[in-house]
Amino acid sequence: MSEVPSLLQTRQSIRGNRLVVSCVSLLLALAVLSLVGPLVSSYSVDTIAFDQSFIAPTLEDGRLFGTDDLGRDLFVRTLKGTQITFLVAIVATLVSLVIGVLYGATAGYLGGKIDAVMMRAVDALYAMPFVFFVILLMVVFERSLFLIFVAIGAINWLDTARIVRGQTMSIKQRSFVDAARLTGVSSAGIIWRHIAPNLLGVVIVYITLTIPQVVLFESFLSFLGLGVQEPQTSLGALVSEGVSRMERAPWMLLFPASFLALLLLCLNFLGDGLRDMFDPKSHTG
């Protein structure tokens, strides 16, 4: 690794910073909007009004995004859906991360036979048509939000585990780890206190890659009818409903899809930006 960052790297760093700042602000704005909006509107997320179905977006009565086929307000539903999508994204990613980091760090640190077995297990899991297992799982168990988090998180941890293992192995060689071991710190302690913090860069990179996948996967589950259930709704569920009513009420697709696209765009750009900041040598720009 070169000691002095090149001009390019510095440029990337700064640009990364700007990108990160703007994306984070946009995401925060979305989050705030999704929390505040429903409070401001006079409608609730599940109030049905048969005589107000399929109203096109209008300023009167505060139907900013229009209504759906049961007369429910789309503005509130879209924002509530954004909340849930945020929630799913964060929690599922955390699940994926925790499993992946712990698994990979343990395998990488312990090395030897244990590492070999653990990585073979990962290979086996790679071979599973995971998506289909999730479908089966959703069918077997009751549909709870919790299960969705776990199911989605369980899909993505493999890549993280692999990368973390690789990184752990290289960190393991560093001197401060030997020092820690010599002074009698337990393996678990070493993993927890020395290795894990050094994985931060890699972890952040993988977070930014995972979240969009998680969000898209939840929308895929909603499309199959297996995602978030009433009375909650998610952007994926709203988009899925909107698609089948695309011609009758285009706003039912337009608004949730735009929010979803905006969210994913922000996350993707954020990922780029973070990668520029933390690892200027990594290929973005």
Binding site: D69, L70, M138, V139, L226, Q229, E230
Partner: protein
């Protein structure tokens, strides 16, 4: 593009050419291998089925989709005309004995299988034997349970030969019944009573219904079945009525997605759709009013109540309250919206020789109903401080979800009930409904296999396996069994109506709406007639072509 040129060049024009060539080869190959979809005849009818049928074996089929295809392939002793009248089919005439227990059929001597062989009485004997044979495990074995000894045979107590069906001569068939059944001739029109060609079954076993093996006695024969895509039928030249079959080929397409179905129809790839989605309905009504065919259909959409457990066990007032609190008109207009009718009875209107009973509150205004509902709810022991907490289960579907949301809202507004929605995958729901452990309110539907009130009323008898709510009422059972043995049609009708009144008074379930059959039929198609069973045989249809 000018600036992209160096980019393309740098990858190497050769590599590019190779890539494009590879792509084109793929596409061409993909195109070449599929001549079986090419329309060799222009006289082809394209119908959509919905989900794929599970089989074309008449004795293993249970789905509505399989029935549609089987109606084109085969023919029973009786059949239906385009307008829904019962007509002779494989049999040209019949006689019923005075006591209603012996039916004699004379088959058409000119009737032929698709391989040219004659259709004879022995074939029907063989087929009915196969239907009730326990080792066939036919889901519709019960359909002909009224035939002498059928019940015992299905249970395994008697041998198949004892079935009350005999071939008196080559073309003469006699059927003896265990009890008089006024609608027996209608039962024989169902696809489970179609004959199979014995040598084909003997030769191929379970595979006899595959393309190339299947021998059929109907207007069409099986050309090909492309899994997941389409079933292709072609004219059976040996069919006795072939001269009146106008269409040469019928393609039944597998189209599980409603939106895709409508789009394919609009793009001209389908002549007839099997359904019309609620979302597209209004738009289609404006754009293509003449192509939209909506008509009453013998199927009821209901919320079953688990009577084996609280809160519905022995709590009739609660059940009635919940039923009265639902605004069926609103659901039918705003939620489903395709011309369905609100259901205030169990038997749908349009059933022949029958006058459906209705709930006493069918003609009341919404306010009156709500007031009575509230009163009954309170009498049942519930109030605002002690609201009913109940789960509404339904299987994954947009429209079931919307109906459930509407019902939830109505119960909340009128009674203060706290209902939670539980969306389950179809088979999970089925298992739960049968186990009767978790279910409280569950969505289900029932369609009639034949046009008689019995097809609806019989399933609520206490020993019927499809009695999902678990309704057990002695009076009802006794009325039904008296009706089953009643020869006089007027008395029988009275008994059945009395039974339905009893059923409705007890409220073991909440009927919500009666289905309509909904199709888009292109103006190319001539001869389509709506009927209450929604049977549309391709042989009755014609295509308007220019050649």
């Amino acid at each position: 593009m000018q600036r992209a040129l160096p980019a393309i060049k740098s990858i190497g024009l050769r590599k590019w050419a190779l890539l494009l060539a590879g792509l084109s080869v793929c596409l061409v190959l993909a195109g070449c291998g599929n001549d079986r979809h090419a329309d060799a005849y222009s006289n082809v009818l394209k119908r959509s089925l919905g989900p794929e049928p599970e089989t074309l074996d008449v004795h293993a089929a249970i789905s509505l989709q399989a029935a549609i295809v089987l109606r084109d392939l085969g023919e029973g002793l009786t059949g239906y005309s385009a307008s829904g009248e019962l007509v002779p089919a494989a049999a040209e005439r019949w006689e019923v004995s005075e006591d209603g227990l012996t039916y004699s059929f004379w088959l058409r001597p000119e009737a032929r299988w698709s391989n040219g062989e004659a259709v004879v009485a022995e074939h029907f004997v063989y087929s009915f034997h196969r239907l009730v044979n326990p080792s066939t495990a036919a889901p519709y074995a019960q359909h002909l349970i009224d035939i002498e000894n059928a019940e015992a045979i299905i249970k395994g107590d008697e041998s198949v030969e004892s079935l009350g069906v005999t071939a008196n001569s080559e073309f003469e068939l006699s059927i003896r019944l265990a009890r008089p059944v006024p609608y027996f001739l209608k039962l024989l029109a169902h696809n489970s009573a179609h004959p199979v060609f014995p040598p084909a079954v003997e030769a191929h076993g379970n595979g006899f219904a595959r393309a190339g093996n299947l021998v059929s006695n109907g207007a069409y024969k099986l050309e090909d079945w492309t899994m997941g895509s389409m079933i292709s039928l072609s004219r059976n030249e040996h069919y006795w009525n072939n001269a009146n079959t106008a269409i040469d080929r019928v393609q039944h397409f597998v189209v599980p997605d409603e939106t895709a179905e409508v789009n394919r129809y609009r793009a001209g790839e389908l002549d007839i759709t099997e359904t019309v989605s609620s979302q597209m309905f209004r738009k289609l009504k404006e754009e293509r009013p003449d192509e939209l065919r909506i008509s009453p259909f013998l199927q009821v959409y209901y919320y079953g109540l688990n009577l084996t457990k609280p809160p519905f066990k022995a709590n009739r007032k609660l059940r009635i309250a919940l039923s009265m609190a639902i605004d069926r008109e609103t659901i039918v207009e705003s939620v489903v919206g395709r011309g369905e009718k609100p259901a205030y009875s169990w038997v749908p209107p349009g059933v022949s020789d029958y006058q459906a009973m209705t709930f006493s509150y069918a003609s009341q205004s919404a306010d009156e109903r709500h007031a009575t509902a509230r009163r009954l709810y309170a009498e049942a022991g519930y109030s605002d401080k002690n609201p009913l907490q109940v789960e509404i289960r339904f299987n994954t579907s947009e429209s079931h979800k919307n109906v459930a949301l509407a019902v939830q809202e109505m119960w909340r507004k009128v009674l203060g009930v706290e209902a939670t929605l539980v969306n389950e995958e179809f088979r999970v729901l089925l298992a739960n409904m049968l186990a009767r452990e978790k279910t409280q309110v569950f969505r289900s539907s029932w369609s009639g296999d034949y046009n008689d009130a019995n097809s609806f009323l019989s399933i609520m008898q206490s020993d019927n396996p499809s009695n999902l709510p678990g309704f057990k009422n002695e009076e009802y059972d006794s009325l039904m069994s008296r009706a089953a043995n009643q020869m006089n049609p007027e008395f029988r009708q009275l008994l059945l109506e009395e039974a339905e009144s009893r059923l409705l008074a007890e409220h073991p379930l909440i009927p919500i709406y009666f289905y309509v059959s909904k199709h888009l039929v292109s103006d190319r198609v001539v001869g389509w007639q709506d009927n209450v069973l929604d049977y549309h045989y391709s042989q009755h249809l014609r295509l308007k072509t220019n050649d």
